[in-house]
């Protein structure tokens, strides 16, 4: 299954590893922050509607 990368295996694998790490990093960060802010907003709206 794994293709033979020859003497450049290090370069190819590390570039894939680094890139995927960064991509998943930004995706994860975006999702996490989205969830957190959504929750905070919901709480704030709840509080305000209770107040009025």
């Amino acid at each position: 299954m794994m293709p033979d990368l020859g003497k450049y295996a290090d370069a190819v694998l590390s570039s894939y590893a680094v890139s995927l790490l960064l991509l998943f990093g930004i995706i994860g960060l975006s999702l996490w922050r989205n969830k957190r802010v959504k929750q905070q907003l919901a709480e704030a709206e709840m509080q305000l509607s209770n107040k009025n």
Binding site: K38, L41, A42, E45
Partner: protein, 207 residues
């Protein structure tokens, strides 16, 4: 000429602080702004001076008519008193600095560096700029801060002289200046509702 504001709303930072405020100051009159700390006096004055555009409403005068004096003195510690006065005189194209110097008894201090003035002396120097602007509407933010009582009286005299020339003043202050030709406006009464905030993120609802 009247200086009027109609249905004004003003913002400070991200917050709409005042809304629905209207007033009119006739020539020769003063308007005293009252209100507890944080009620929006500074916000209003900055708006009148053209520093923050109003969120809503309109003003009957241009920012060029307004001489603004803020909480801060706007003085340079390294300049001498005389140099400071000359600087503002040439910015405003004023030729005669004597009235400004006399109104706040600055002549004994002229050769001092601003750094070596006491708090009240600094305030006096800062206020003297008003007489150099030649502008008809004074917008003053707690001008009497750290002035002693004799100087407060002198300051009130300067305001009266200004008004007597058919000009006007809007003054935020917590003390009584003893101006007879003064209306009082309490800004606490103009708290905005959420709808006044004019913020597209507060229209409609989403979660």
């Amino acid at each position: 000429m009247d200086y009027a504001a109609t249905n004004l709303a003003c913002r400070r930072g991200d917050r709409t602080v005042l809304a629905g405020l209207s007033f009119s100051v006739a020539a020769g009159k003063a308007l005293i702004l009252r209100g507890a700390n944080g009620s929006g006096k500074t916000t209003l004055l900055r708006c009148l001076a053209g520093l923050t555009p109003p969120v809503a409403g309109s003003l009957s005068f241009a920012a060029d008519d307004v001489a603004y004096a803020a909480h801060d003195n706007g003085l340079k510690a390294q300049l001498r008193v005389a140099e400071t006065i000359e600087f503002w005189a040439s910015i405003y194209g004023a030729t005669d600095t004597a009235p400004a110097v006399d109104a706040f008894t600055l002549s004994p201090l002229m050769t001092r560096h601003v750094a070596a003035l006491s708090a009240g002396q600094k305030r006096r120097l800062s206020l003297s700029r008003l007489l150099l602007t030649g502008r008809p509407l004074w917008a003053l933010d707690e001008p009497t801060v750290s002035l002693d009582s004799a100087t407060v009286t002198k300051f009130a005299d300067a305001v009266r002289a200004h008004l007597a020339q058919g000009r006007a003043a809007i003054i935020a202050t917590h003390i009584d200046l003893g101006l007879d030709a003064a209306d009082v406006l309490d800004v606490s009464g103009f708290k905005p509702s959420v709808a006044d905030a004019q913020d597209p993120f507060l229209d409609g609802a989403f979660t």
